[in-house]
Each structure stands twice: as structure tokens, then as C-alpha cells.
Amino acid sequence: MESRARAAAPASGAAAPRKLWPGALAMLAVPVLLLIVGPHLPSYPLRILDMILLYAVLGLGLNIIVGYAGLLDLGYVAFYAIGAYSWALLASGQFDIHLPFALVLLIGASLAGLAGILLGIPVLRLRGDYLAIVTLGFGEIIRVLMNNLDVVTNGPQGIARIDEAHLFGWTLSTPDDFLYLLVAMLVVVFLFVWRIQESALGTALSAVREDQDAARGCGINTTRVKLVAFAFSAFIGGACGVVFAAMQRFVSPESFTFWESLVIVLVIVVGGLGNPFGALLGATLLILLPELLRAYADYRLLFYGMALVVIILARPRGLISRQYGPSWLMRRLGGGKC
């Protein structure tokens, strides 16, 4: 009994920082700063900021599958598309259905989560490259479906005349409005994925990533755990899709190509796999870089590609590697042992 008590003391000492506020304050500074500075920005930079936040949230969501569980999903855009089309179909003149935004946010995210589970059941027995190829195929299937299901989705012409979103009496129409919404989403999703990472579920996912067979040998139901990861990840992707459709007020299959999936994967690979801070930094870089390179017109994609290659060569684990996550920051600033 005595040895247990003695063992528990350093355990919590190493796990939790002595003081919580310095780390919490440092992390809160980012959304607060965004909320203060954001609305004063001109329209164009503000739109870019919105896109950065949207991709950051997408990156946080995809990180659950790719970063934590180590399963390469190249079709994440499918979940995003399901969310976007949910808003486009349930709040537009298309079928003259006009559901409230909060409800569609829930429906879209849940449908995407369900799609994640349905996709996961057959494909999660696959590993590595095979899984990547099947998910890529799924992404394409959803896009082709949207493209050809004319009666429902209007095909390649897409759906216009989408409703303005209202959330609890607050109208979401300008880029400022979406800034507030996206910052709130970022905070919620950030806390959500951080919580997953620190919980037993995160431990199980890490074990699956490191050595799936040994994880099973330790009693982890790897299939179930991966399904849960897929569902959570898809849910977040779906929620992002709903917000995207509400922001653009127009959706078409063009917005959901393989390129989009690739950008989201790049966001987390460049930023740092399995690190929530990495998703933020990666999104900032990947959205900002093409805008900064606009001056080079024709050479833009060339420079973009070169910049990515240089980053990956210089930092193969991404800009911020896995261990320097939010828990590390809390310990670092809160005086705990690192």
C-alpha cells in the first residue's frame, strides 16, 4: 500500500503541471487575439483567415485518424462533402426545405459520422497503402455521386440559393460572423481532440499506430477503436462541411476533389502529425502560402510545391513534432516536469 502511494505521487507530478493558468492563458491568447484583431481586417484577409480556421478544424479532425491512429485517409473530403450537401439540401430552395442551422449542423455531422462508420466496417481490416487507396476511392465515389445525382444535387451546376444561416437569432452572413463561429468551433474541436489524446482512447489509438498486433495482444479491440476514431473524425469533417456551405452559399462537386483531401492531409503532415498545434500552423501555412505567391502568377504552384518539399525535407516530422503538444505546453509553462 505504501509503495502504491509512493508510486502515485511522482505519477501525477510528471503528468500534471503544478499550475494550470500559465498554459491555459497562453493557449487562450490565440482565439482571443483572433477575435480582437479579426473584425478589423479588410474583407479579403478576413476571408483568408476564415479559410485558415476552417482548414485548421479539418486538420484537427483528420488528425484523429491519421495522426493518432496512424491510418492514412486520402478521402477525408467525402465527409466534408456530406456535411456541405446536408446544408445545401436541407436549407435552400432546392426542395424548399429550410431547417435551422444548428439542427443541420448536427444532422450533417452525424450523417458524416455514420458514413465514417459504414466506410470503416469494410475497410478497416486493410492497412497502410491499401487503406489509403480505398479511402481515396470513397472520396471519389461521393464526388461522382454528387456530380451525377442530378435530381437531388443538381449535378455539376451545384446548388445555389442556399439560405442565410441563423444561429440562435444571430445571422451568419459576413466574414466577421463566420470568424466568430469558426473560432468557437476551433476551441471546441481543439479541446475535444486534446481530450481524446490524453484519454484511454488516445492510448489505445497510439498503440494501434505503433504496433497493431501487439495492441491486440494487450487486449485492445483494434477494429472497434479504429471505428470510433473514424466516426469522430468524420463527424468533425461533416460539421466543417456544413459551415463551408453556409459560408459560400453555393456548393458544387468541384469543391470536393481529391486535391482537397490532399491539402487537408498536407496541413497535418507539414504542421506535425498527431499534434493539435501542428494542424493550426499547417493550415496557416498551406492557405497563406498560395495567397502570398499570387504575385508569381504562373510559377505559383511550382513555388508552392517547392516550399512544401523543402519543409518536409528539413523537418520530416512536421514543423512541430508530436511530443510538443498542448500537454507539453501546460507542463512547460506550469512548472511540471517535462
Binding site: 503528468a15 484511454a200 482512447l201 489505445a204 504496433d211 498486433d213 495492441a215 495482444g217
Partner: protein, 279 residues
């Protein structure tokens, strides 16, 4: 109690295990020995669910393991270490142990994640892990990355991970392979300290000195068949065993020397292709 009941395993035409039956009783250390290719590792891999059996049954306290999905075997009370270390290299030592304590039901896993009864349970899991690390002298390394530890320490972490969930059957697949003399001595003390009336221990080892000094009962395998079973003294004087090891009856000293010569010092991860061949 672990029971092998008329177990046979065929790989194509080859019978790797041929109608083997024996029991591993709680409270004692049972060693399984035999020349290379005798089927020792196949036995462990079948019990742990990595291979299926061709016929026969393997039971833990009456529960037939082959009817369970692999992850349920751990919950049935059987855990193992690996011949080639298989730690979760990128995770800390204490997290490696926590994997073995993850709640089995997905519902409770999700509830745990979102703080419904989670904190206390997580604290308790952590405390259990630290208690085991303490016991094996690994407390100082708890927060280090498992992959960064020395080989001997990694072997101990694997042992810690195998015992943290308090299994009823523990399979140790060559725990002393690659360890130096001092480390082997330390491992021996740890294994002896683990002996308890609730735990059935199976030890697969090439280090005859270690086996003879700590095993309560020894099972000798040869070419997939059970050759002999008995105490260290009985096995030493068994002429069949001597023949299996040396091709002719000989003194136990020679058996130990022959076994030492067989010890594989090159350790590779499974599937890397290089295998060690007997001269």
C-alpha cells in the same frame, strides 16, 4: 491454469505441433525447452491467438481460447512477452503499460474520454502502472520513450506490460535472450518474485542454467512432439532428452553447452527475413 488438450498444428504437410497435451499449473514455473524447430514458439503463438490450431483445444481456466477473438484472449487472463521485443516504441514507458489496462468496452472507453467517471479510473490505472514499474526497478524511466531504452530495460518493460493487468497465465517467450549475465540474474529474481498461487507461468528459454535453476517443472519438446515432462532433476537424467539435444546420451554439462551454442544472438523484428540456422 493453462491446458493444452491434444493440440495439433500443421503448416501444409509439416506438423509443427503433433498431438501435444500438458497442463501449466498456477503457482509454479513451467519451462518449455527443446531444440530449434521443436515447436516451442508455435505453442506460445497459438495460445496467444496469433495462430489458429489445426485440431485440439487450448484452455485458460476452462475457457477455450481459440473461440475468442485475439483481443479477448488478454481479457481471459493470458498475456505474453515476445521473442523479439514488441514495445510501442514511440510511447512513454508508463503509456506502454497503460495500453494493457485500457477498458475493454468501447462504451466505457468513450465515457472515460469525456470525463464521465474518467478521472478517478485514469488515476487508478496510472497508479497501477507505476506500482509495477517500481517493482521491476523501472520507476526512473517511467516517462522516457520506450524505444529509447537499452535492450535489457526494454525486455523488462515488456515484462511489466505483460503483468500489469494481473493475468492468470503469463507466457514468457525467451525473456533472457540477448541479456548479459547480470541482467539475466536480475530477470531471474523478478521472475521468481512473480511466482504466486494465482499465476501460471510458462517460460520458453534457451538458457539452460536459468531454466534448471528456476523451473518447477520442465516440458521437453522435440520435432513437434512432447518428449518428456518432469522436474529439473528428472529431465537432466532423461536419456531421450540427451539424445534429442546431442544425438547421443551425454552428461548435462554438454546439454547446457549445446543449448548455449544454439542461442541466437542476432535479434531481428519478425518478418525481416533473416533467420538463424543451426550449424
Amino acid at each position: 491454469m493453462l491446458t493444452f488438450d491434444h493440440v495439433t498444428k500443421r503448416f501444409g504437410e509439416l506438423a509443427a505441433i503433433d498431438d501435444v497435451s500438458f497442463e501449466v499449473k498456477p503457482g509454479v514455473i513451467t519451462a518449455v525447452i527443446g531444440p530449434n524447430g521443436a515447436g516451442k514458439s508455435t505453442l506460445v503463438n497459438m495460445a496467444a491467438g496469433s495462430y489458429g490450431v489445426t485440431s485440439g483445444r487450448i484452455l485458460v481456466d476452462g475457457v477455450e481460447l481459440q473461440k475468442l477473438p485475439k483481443h479477448r484472449i488478454a481479457h481471459a487472463g493470458l498475456s505474453r512477452t515476445y521473442q523479439n521485443i514488441r514495445l510501442f516504441d514511440g510511447m512513454s514507458v508508463v503509456k506502454n503499460l497503460e495500453v494493457a489496462l485500457v477498458p475493454p468496452r468501447v462504451g466505457s472507453l468513450i465515457a472515460n474520454t469525456f470525463g464521465l467517471s474518467g478521472r478517478a479510473a485514469a488515476e487508478e490505472r496510472r497508479a497501477r502502472c507505476h506500482a509495477v514499474l517500481d517493482r521491476l526497478g523501472l520507476a526512473a524511466h517511467a516517462e522516457r520513450q520506450a524505444g529509447s531504452l537499452a535492450y535489457g530495460q526494454q525486455k523488462l518493460v515488456e515484462l511489466a506490460r505483460a503483468i500489469v493487468a494481473e493475468p492468470r497465465v503469463l507466457l514468457l517467450d525467451e525473456p533472457a535472450a540477448g541479456l548479459n549475465h547480470g541482467e539475466t540474474e536480475q530477470l531471474k529474481q523478478h521472475i521468481l518474485a512473480l511466482r504466486s498461487p494465482d499465476l501460471a507461468m510458462v517460460l520458453i528459454e534457451h538458457d539452460m542454467k536459468l531454466i534448471m535453476s528456476i523451473s518447477d517443472t520442465i516440458v521437453v519438446m522435440n520435432r513437434g512432439q512432447l518428449l518428456a515432462q518432469g522436474t529439473a532433476g528428472e529431465i537432466r537424467s532423461n536419456t531421450e532428452v540427451q539424445e534429442a539435444y546431442l544425438g547421443q546420451p551425454g552428461a548435462i554439462k554438454d546439454i547446457e553447452a549445446a543449448a548455449r551454442g544454439r542461442r541466437n544472438r542476432v535479434r531481428l523484428r519478425e518478418g525481416e527475413g533473416l533467420t538463424w540456422h543451426q550449424p
